[in-house]
Every structure is written in C-alpha cells, then in structure tokens.
Symmetry: C2
C-alpha cells in the first residue's frame, strides 16, 4: 500500500485529494468509473462519500461492490442510512453482504428493514445464530450495542491451548485485546490480557494467570450507564452476561465512543427543542421533527401574551413597562438555562447522584440570589436614569432579580424531577424553563407595576 | 479479592454499600478510621469520595496514602481537582507520588501548580525525562493528552526478540494492545498487534508481520481532531510524531473518551453562556464565571428595549402590540437556536466540511421559509380572532414568519463564520442568535406596525 497515505491529518494531503477525485467521478452519469478509486479510500471515507450522493446513485454503487467490500462500508454508516441504502436490494444479495458484516451491524440494519425483507434476508444468511439473539434487544441497551465477536477460554485450560484457541479465532475476531475466561457452565469468571497470555509459561493454567475481577453488565442496562462504567473504570471492553453470568456478548470501547457522542447530541437537541434529525436528511423529515416543538413554543409564548393582556390597562398607562418586558424575560431565561445546562450535563456525566441533589439546589439558590441582586441593581439604576422614574427602577430591578432566582431554581429542579420520574432529564426541560422565565417573569413584573401604577406614571 | 465486587452495575449492591460506609467514616473528625475501607474501593471511586469531602480533609487523607496509592487516585481526578488536592504537599512527598503516576498525569498536575512548587517537585523526581517534554504542549493538543508509556520495536528484529522486549516492558506499560515499529532512526514505520506477534513464527522479522499503515498526528494537532480521527477510523491508539516521523508519544482511546466528553460539555456550556465551571466548585468561582455572560446578556436585552423605546408612540397608540413582543422574540429565538444547535453539533462531529456549508444554508433557508409560513399563519389567525383586528393579525404573522427565517439563517451562519475565522464555533454564537431574534424581530414587528398604525388602532 501507498506509504504516503499515512499523512499527518492536519494536512490530509493525498487522502483529501483522492477523496476529491472520487467525489468528482461520482457526479458522472454512471458510478462505474469511480469504483476503482473509491475502493482505495478507507471504508470510513467511503461511507462519507456515499452519504454525499443521492440515494439512487448510492444504491447502484453499493450494488457494484463485493459483499465483503459492501459490508465494510455499511459498518461505517449510521444504521438508518445503511438500512436506507440497502432497502432496494434483493434478499439474496443482502444476505451475502450481512454475512460478511459484524453480527451487531447486521442486526442494526435488519431491525430497520421492513419486516418481510428482514425475515427473508435473515433466512438466507449463514450467520443466523450470531445475529438472531441481537435482534431482541433495544438499540439503546447493552444488548443492542454488544457484539458476539469475542474469544473465550475455559479457566482449566493451559496457556498453550489458550494461545491455540486465540490463533484459530484471531482471524474472524478483529481487535482482540483480552480473552474472557469461563467455567465449565460458560459462566464468566475472569479475563486474560493477550500480552499476559503471550508472556506466560505454556503449562500454566488460565485460572492462575487470569484477572478474576471483570466488571460486566446485564443486557438491559442502559447504554449511557455502560458508557459511564467504561469511562469511570478505564475499561477497554465490557462483557454482557445473563442472570447466571453466562456471556451474551461484549461491548467494545470503540462502540461506546459512538454511544457517548449520540447521548451528548441527544441532550443538546433536547435543549434546543429538536427531535432526532440528520443534518442533510430529507427536508420534510426535518419539518415534521421541528414543527411540534415550534407549535409547543408558540403556545407557551401565547401564554406569556395572555399575562400581558391581563395587565393591558397598566401597560396602557405606563408604556415604558413594555420596553422592559424582554429584559425581564431574557434575564430569567439565561439564568434558568445556565443552571439547567449544568444539571443536565452533570447528570449525563454521572457527577450528580441523587443524594447530591439537595446540596445542588441549595448552591444554585445562593448563586441565583447573588446574581439576582447584582443584575437587578444594575438594570434598576439603568431604568431609573433612562426614564427618570425611581419607582420604575425599583420595579424593574425587583422583577429581574426575582425572575433570575425563580428561573434558576426551576432550571436546576426540572431535570432532577424528570430523572426521579425515570424520564429523560433533558427532554422538555428547556420548554419548562423558558415558559417560567416568560410567564412568571411577566406576572411578577406587571403584578408589582399594577399595584404601584400611580407612582409609575 | 472479593468476588462479589463484580456486581451487575444496575444494582451495584456491595460496591454502593461499601462507598456509603466509607462516606460515613470520612465525615468523622479524623480520616484515619476510613482508610482501610477507602483502599478497598476502586481508585475511580476513591477519587469520587475525595471530591465529596472538604479540601482540608481531602488533603489529610491523601497524606495517609502510600505514593503508589495516591498516584492511582490522582489519575482518576480532574487535573484541576488533583492539583488543588496536592497543593499543600511538600515537594519531596509530591515527587514520590508523581513518580508513580503516569507521566501524562504528572505533567497535567505540574502544569497547574505554582511555578516554584512545580519546579522543585520536578527536580525531586526520578522520571524527569518522561515528564519534561510533556510540559511543553498545550492541554488541548495531541501533545497535551499523549502518554509516553508505549512499547516500540525495530522493524529488523525478530518476532522472538520483540516478544522479549514486550515481556520486559509489559510490567511498566499497562494496556499494551500493539507495539509501534520504528526504523533505525526511531522513525515510525508501522504497528504490530500483540495477538499477531504472539501467534507469529519466532524467526519472522517484525517488518514482515507488521501493518505499515499507521495513522498518526503532529503534537500540535487539536485534541478534537484527534478524537474524530480515532472515532472515524475505529483506532485504539494514535501515535504522535514530530516532523521526521519520530515518535513523541501515544494517545490511547480511553484518554480520548474524556476529550470527547469535555468537548461536548464545552459546546453545551457555550450554548448556555457559561464558562468552564464545576458543579460543586467554590460558589464565588461560579459567580465570576457566569457574571460576564449575564451582564453581556443584559446589554443585549437593553438593546431590545431601545428598539421598543424608539417605537414608544406606536406602542402607546396600540397597546395590543406589547402582548405580541414575547411571541415574536420567542419564535425567532427557538428557530435560531434549532439551526444553531444542529450546525454546532454537525461541526463537532465532523459532519459539516466547509464545502457543505452553502448547501446547508440553502436547506435551512427553505426550512425557515416553511416554518415561517406555517407558524406566521397560525399566530396571525390567533391575533386576528383574539383582538378582532385583521391588520394586527397580518402584522404579527409577518413579523413572526420573517423573524423565524432571519434568526434561522443567523443561527446557521454564525458558527460557520466563527469557524472560518478559526474561532470556536459555539463561543458567543447563542448570544448573537438571541440578540438578533430580539432586536431584528422587534424592528420588523414594530416597524411594520408603525407604518400601518392608523389601521391598527
């Protein structure tokens, strides 16, 4: 292979150039001419190139690949995209491709195909026993992300035999860094690093050189929990076992990297009020996903309008109040969003166990009070100097300060309550916070103003 | 060791109980009695327990540990927390501890200590040559996160000798999954998996069994770029080399997991307008970090107030306009935040190379127009029915629709422009978007209203 491909990625030179040439060729009427160059780039880059061309072209290019080549590309695509790309294939072709792919990738794709196509494809596959059990588990659980490509040895074999087992299995299982050690009922009892095995005396028993401490999870464990375990304890793999500690599969750290990215994306999207969306997916899909949130947001702003409407006579007498509506709402909004984000991220990173919830609320209350005083004082003085009305300054300052405290507390409490209800702490929390910042903010601001309206005119 | 520690983490039973008991003991006047139980939990859990007690107690507990034990705990703490915890130690004690820690961990802590303490500690250390080069690199670069604990062999040695080298080095370097292969000038020429080495005929040359394709990076490569390389190409390690391809260190996938979490956290904090902040850090630190953003936000809401003030006479004639101010601003804000979040996340995940920026803007423009029409129509009808004024409905609907399009485009464009200027795409982008949503929204809304004021009364 060409040594120049090992370029420093800052300047991905040759690689980037090659990609650009393939990209150009792929624009042609037929994908054929692009094929040989296409096969020269890394499968991860092939997957990216495919995601950039239209569906028909993507499907016909996939058809030109050998099953093994196609399987490699599919492994690097998002499961939804992969399922879309193979949707038009006959079950025979698809079976051949999925037999070459990792069982976890095959299962992810099969789960997303129409039932009949999925069933026919599965029937045509050789690796049915590997894939079928994986189809049972939900995508976001340990069972859904594990693979059954691992090497296991019995504790009572010798190091020499274990090395022989590794030799046979190393061809099908890539990236073996450790062997799982089982007893005679296939229950997990330890693990054995390849380095340690390679350096051990051949006559020693696996039981004597293995590490008996293996952290493991049940198949229904949430993927986020798996990710925090791996991160916390610096694991490079995480076995999945049933109630009797029998091995069902293994989660590799590489797969969890994707999980962490997904979970972070999901939290950000929830904060911004968007559903699962692909940057370049079909536009109508995006409309369908954003519209419910937009209408929900509209409803909450109409709620805020109702509050203002309720105090219409006050606003009519003191029009200057209208000017400060966005200040009151905006400061509450930012105060609430700050604490909301800290808490959601803290929960996601496992830094906020239940027993620290109360201390956190106390801490945020103190911070809210400090910020409320510091911001309320400034905007109060600004309002006074601007409009020459001391009472207006007091009302605006009080409203801003109080709103920051309240919105901050709501921002901290909402995700904690959602978690206690076993719901996603990020989902809908931002809507609650901005609604409170608007509605409660205006109620406080205009409520105080109405009671003091004669000294404001 | 106790087998029951291998519990299924759902129910972390024994482990959780043990943690609770240590936690209780740590509340006592002296940390001594907690020590033996403390040492029974995993160093990652020890780090968490330490983060929960006050600084004085944390420091005195650390003093009771053997250097090797203390080093293990420090490896699992955030570098800032670790530096804080060892700040009161004499250089002698600290040197002994850092000698036992990984050179990357030692360097991270030394970088954060006062210069004199750092220098004295370094002078007392045995592992100076390992740590010193790491001190040069910025924290968020490949050089800053790499470790120099790796095993390298020359391409012209035999497999048998390579195995011997591995045997010697395996004791100091944990988690070896591959050997780096170098030529006689120590330039990186390939890699060799331990499994492959273990299974090779002893007389074969490393050059004949190695993989000549190794992706690598320069020491000043941004850590985010390293993370996307590792994720994209499913690497388990990433060598760092100088201009002559000489190896400087290696980045392990486990370390990059932390990097990805950090980068996601940073983006979320930027979106919420918070600086780097710890959930339970000193409250005054939080105030210092949030206050600038709060005052900046205050300034932008005052800008919005100025716009309303400019149209004061219009609002005075048609008080109903005040009601719809939060609707116009709120809908622009959410439209802008949705696209902003999609683009920032797309950039972070590497899904948005420069050449796709224009197509993205086009796509978001179309979406903004669709959403603007759909939302503008609904709120227009609502305003008409509510206030019985058709022209008011038209003005509100137009303003909401136009504001959603504009805020959406600003939300999509801002991070792309920031990136083009080689700045962090998330930093300050949310401020720009909400300011535009408020200020431009009110300008459009009240501007149209002012020109049609006679038909609105």
């Amino acid at each position: 292979m060409d040594q120049t491909r090992n370029t420093i990625p800052d300047a991905l030179g040759h690689e980037r150039e090659l990609m650009a040439r393939v990209r150009e060729l792929l624009q042609g009427p037929q994908p054929g001419p692009a094929l040989s160059l296409f096969l020269e780039v890394h499968p991860a880059d092939q997957a990216q190139l495919l995601s950039e061309i239209d569906l028909a072209r993507r499907q016909s290019l996939l058809h030109l690949l050998q099953p093994g080549q196609a399987a490699l590309v599919l492994e690097h695509m998002h499961p939804e995209e992969a399922a879309e790309a193979v949707a038009a294939m006959g079950p025979g072709t698809l079976s051949a491709i999925l037999d070459e792919a990792g069982p976890d990738v095959a299962a992810d794709i099969l789960k997303r195909l129409p039932e009949e196509q999925s069933l026919q494809t599965l029937q045509g596959m050789d690796e049915v026993e590997g894939v079928t059990p994986l189809l049972e588990y939900a995508d976001d659980t340990a069972g859904g992300i594990m693979t059954n490509e691992y090497v296991s040895v019995r504790a009572d074999t010798t190091a020499a035999i274990a090395l022989d087992i590794l030799r046979v299995r190393a061809e099908e299982v890539d990236d073996v860094s450790a062997l799982l050690v089982v007893d005679d009922c296939r229950r997990l009892v330890g693990s054995l690093g390849v380095t340690r095995l390679a350096l051990a005396r051949p006559t020693l028993l696996v039981a004597d050189i293995m590490d008996p401490e293996v952290r493991h999870v049940a198949p229904d464990t949430d993927q986020e929990e798996c990710a925090s375990l791996v991160e916390r304890y610096d694991l490079s793999y995480l076995p999945v076992v049933d109630e009797d500690r029998r091995i069902l599969g293994v989660i590799l750290v590489q797969d969890l990297v994707d999980v962490m990215e997904q979970e972070a994306t999901e939290d950000m999207y929830h904060m911004a009020r968007i559903g699962p969306e692909r940057l370049f997916g079909p536009p109508l899909g995006s409309v369908r996903r954003r519209l419910p949130w937009l209408y929900l947001n509209l409803a909450t702003t109409i709620l805020a309008a109702l509050v203002i409407n309720f105090f219409e006579s006050t606003v009519a007498r003191v029009v200057a109040l209208a000017m400060f509506l966005p200040v009151v709402a905006g400061q509450g909004g930012i105060g609430g969003t700050q604490t909301l984000t800290l808490v959601i991220r803290g929960i996601a990173l496992g830094d906020l166990p239940g027993r620290r919830a109360l201390p956190l609320l106390g801490r945020e209350l103190v911070l809210g009070l400090i910020h409320g005083v510091l911001l309320g004082a400034v905007i109060g003085v600004v309002a006074f100097l601007w409009k020459g009305n001391g009472m207006l300054g007091v009302v605006v300052g009080l409203a801003v300060g109080a709103n920051m405290v309240i919105a901050g507390m709501v921002g901290a409490a909402t995700p904690l309550v959602l978690r206690a209800l076993r719901m996603d702490p990020a989902l809908g929390a931002a809507v609650v916070v901005t609604t409170v910042a608007d509605v409660v903010g205006f109620l406080i601001f205009l409520g105080i103003a109405a009671s003091l309206v004669s000294s404001l005119e």
